[in-house]
Subunit: 227 residues, 2 copies
DNA sequence: TGTACATCAGTGAACGCGCGTTCACTGATGTAC
DNA sequence: TGTACATCAGTGAACGCGCGTTCACTGATGTAC
């Protein structure tokens, strides 16, 4: 219908957004230009007015998925608590598009335990399309070329740094392990067909990670650097 | 060349073996019937004399990859130590084909720590094609239909059970967490582009998992059930 | 404010390609005599 | 042991299909007068 410049920006945004969701749900390989364009009510030809190639879109969609999944992990669950914070953070519809990498401290959650519980929830497990892209796409990216691996590496390190900041001892080592364990547990919970066992993985990882956060017994220092 | 019945069995074995490697290296989606057949020096048409469809092969190749990856994790590293045990275990070339699911206890490693160190090694990280299929294909299978997820679930539970047996307290909870963390850490180490950081993830997971195995401080019972 | 026109967002036919699958075939295998 | 023949493992042309990408086009946008 309309062909204004403002609408072009909105179309691009819708394409990228849909792509970010679809790759998390079905993987990088499954994204098809034709089906993607149909899903945002456009025809395939128009795609190349927005992106140079499928592969360029893939890189941008991965970036977007990583930002969005990280943001979703930091804020409360999308159904209820997001409503409450909408007034303060989001001003316009397109505001979220620019400079999402700059924001660091303000949006982080209360503490490590809250973060872990939110990440290893049934809700997160059951909605990969809006969830953490690190978990959803790690195998895909592990097999991909360096450019995509660099994009994910950067976000992974950012995530680890935030986890470390949430820990009492700020240990990078612990944060690195916690991130790996959370990603692994979410993945495993998505594989298991028995719902009880799927829940059990999440519960087990929650328990052990929260126990890990309340410092180790060998170096029994209440608060402060261990070495 | 030859078309004997014995050769047909060997062809089938080569196809399945190659498929098990290729899916671990490049994912389920990337497996192409034509390229697979070319890689074992056959033509695409012959494929349907061995398997009913690509999808049937995929299920069998996943099963094979899971068995093989598990076996590789249990025995020593393929380069040196396998040589030593070759005389005792492998009798003929086709012996490995039959009844690989039956063997349980004899091939398990000395202890939990050895297992962890072997799993979270640079060698395992750098050879996904012959390594653990749980790590290589978890995202792919998480997105797949129930049949494939059931196949992986069964192997995952088998793996968890073996881990639990290797733990002093035999806690399923701990084994479930350890399996998730090992899978996650291996995946993350394969994503990270910085070699030093990739090594750091493996080291961090190794340290924390081995510490986890030497029982927790809150319930300080030396050996026996906690509840 | 109203008309003339360049711009350009989105359309849809067309391209070459690789895919999974089918099938008539070829020629070595292995059996019956 | 030697010949005649049915079997069947593997071949390669052909199929219909969806893919990524190109391009001549249409018609609303938005600017110049």
């Amino acid at each position: 219908m309309g062909h204004s410049q403002a609408e072009k920006a909105r179309s691009r945004e819708r394409i990228l957004q849909q792509a970010a969701e679809q790759i998390r749900e079905h993987g990088l390989k499954s994204l098809s230009v034709g089906k993607l364009m149909r899903s945002v009510d456009l025809t395939h030809g128009g795609f190349y007015g927005h992106f140079a190639s499928r592969s360029e879109l893939l890189a941008q969609a991965l970036e977007r998925a990583l930002c969005e999944g990280g943001a979703a992990a930091r804020t409360a669950d999308p159904t209820s608590a997001t409503r409450a914070t909408t007034g303060t953070t989001a001003t316009t519809g397109t505001a979220a598009t620019t400079g999402s990498t700059a924001t660091t401290a303000p949006a982080s959650p209360a503490d490590f335990a809250t973060w872990v519980r939110r990440y290893l929830s049934r809700q997160h497990r059951d909605s990969p399309g809006t969830g953490c892209a690190l978990a959803a796409l790690s195998s895909d990216v592990a097999r991909a070329e360096e450019p995509l691996r660099k994009v994910m590496s950067a976000h992974l390190e950012q995530y680890v740094a935030r986890l470390a900041a949430a820990l009492d001892d700020h240990e990078d080592d612990k944060a690195l392990f916690a991130a790996s364990a959370m990603i692994g547990a979410l993945l495993v919970s998505r594989v298991l067909t028995d719902p009880a066992r799927s829940d059990a993985v999440l519960a087990a990882a929650r328990t052990h990670l929260i126990a890990l956060a309340s410092s180790d017994p060998s170096a029994s220092v209440p608060a402060g650097e261990s070495l």
